[in-house]
Symmetry: C2
Subunit: 198 residues, 2 copies
Amino acid sequence: MSQRNGILLVVSGPSGSGKTTLCRRLADEGEARYSVSCTTRPARPGEINGRDYHFLSREEFLAKRDAGEFLESAEVHGNLYGTLKTEVIGPLGNGTDIVMDLDVQGAAQVRACTDAEIRLAAVDLFVMPRNEEELLARLSGRGTDSEEVIALRMKNALGEMSHWPEYTYRLLSGDREEDFSRFKSLVIAERMRVCRLL
Amino acid sequence: MSQRNGILLVVSGPSGSGKTTLCRRLADEGEARYSVSCTTRPARPGEINGRDYHFLSREEFLAKRDAGEFLESAEVHGNLYGTLKTEVIGPLGNGTDIVMDLDVQGAAQVRACTDAEIRLAAVDLFVMPRNEEELLARLSGRGTDSEEVIALRMKNALGEMSHWPEYTYRLLSGDREEDFSRFKSLVIAERMRVCRLL
């Protein structure tokens, strides 16, 4: 009955699916650690280096990326973002469960990773609304956005949602408490997975 | 968001692990169907054909077994026991979750089954006490059995327990409510598994 290896839970889903809330709450309840990403964008007021992000210069980031140190990375609006393997591999080996909120490209990079520690730990979940009406309602938000803006969000969300069959698990989101309960069930089940107990 | 395929949850564990209680409660709460086995042993008073067992003659049983109709079967104390594939495949296709309480040989037969429906549906769990002290306490029961009887039970249980690494999940049993909660988490998680949603 040896020390358990940690779970690397990768969570994706369109904007409005509630995935970020699920991940944050899991971390807030002490059930998992939220991994801290690196970024080349400047820190915003109140953001703390090492807590919100590891802030790197573009040169530092690219050097680490070229050295294969990133588990996943992406460029968004001219800024680089990524998760260092060292950020997750050590804690996983100590039995710490880690949750990551990644887009479909990031999740695909984790899935393609060949490091034994990552392959053992990683499991992925796609969170999405039950139907298009619910998605539209969530994306319409406070009703202050133009129809064009909402239509673009809807198009992007539907594009992202087409990737759900690539994941191991899918959660259809609806009621907040019910969603979190099922999300936590997934973590509890994965903690019983024999391959991480050996 | 198509009709989900059912889960075939195979549960093993030594005598005293609490596995049967877990399976029965899952069925009692309407979360899964308890599969009905066939047997060649005579019905006991109160047992109903089709509810407790499908009672078959030895000839009937062997004919079905030779025709490959059993998902798993075994001979125990001169009586044949087994689960028909038809008992599970139809309900699974309709999205019914099924729970089976099988010994390690039975679970191995399910794992070796090549039918596509079974492979998609099957997942297995080994339930065992947290440590040998707890196992001994559970096997000692009401304290009316001889040391020899208890020692034999202990030997059998430890032999069965050595098979836990062959399973997908392992549940270390302790508190009854906590055990059932984790058992149910496993079912909830498996219902979100993408391969059964496609």
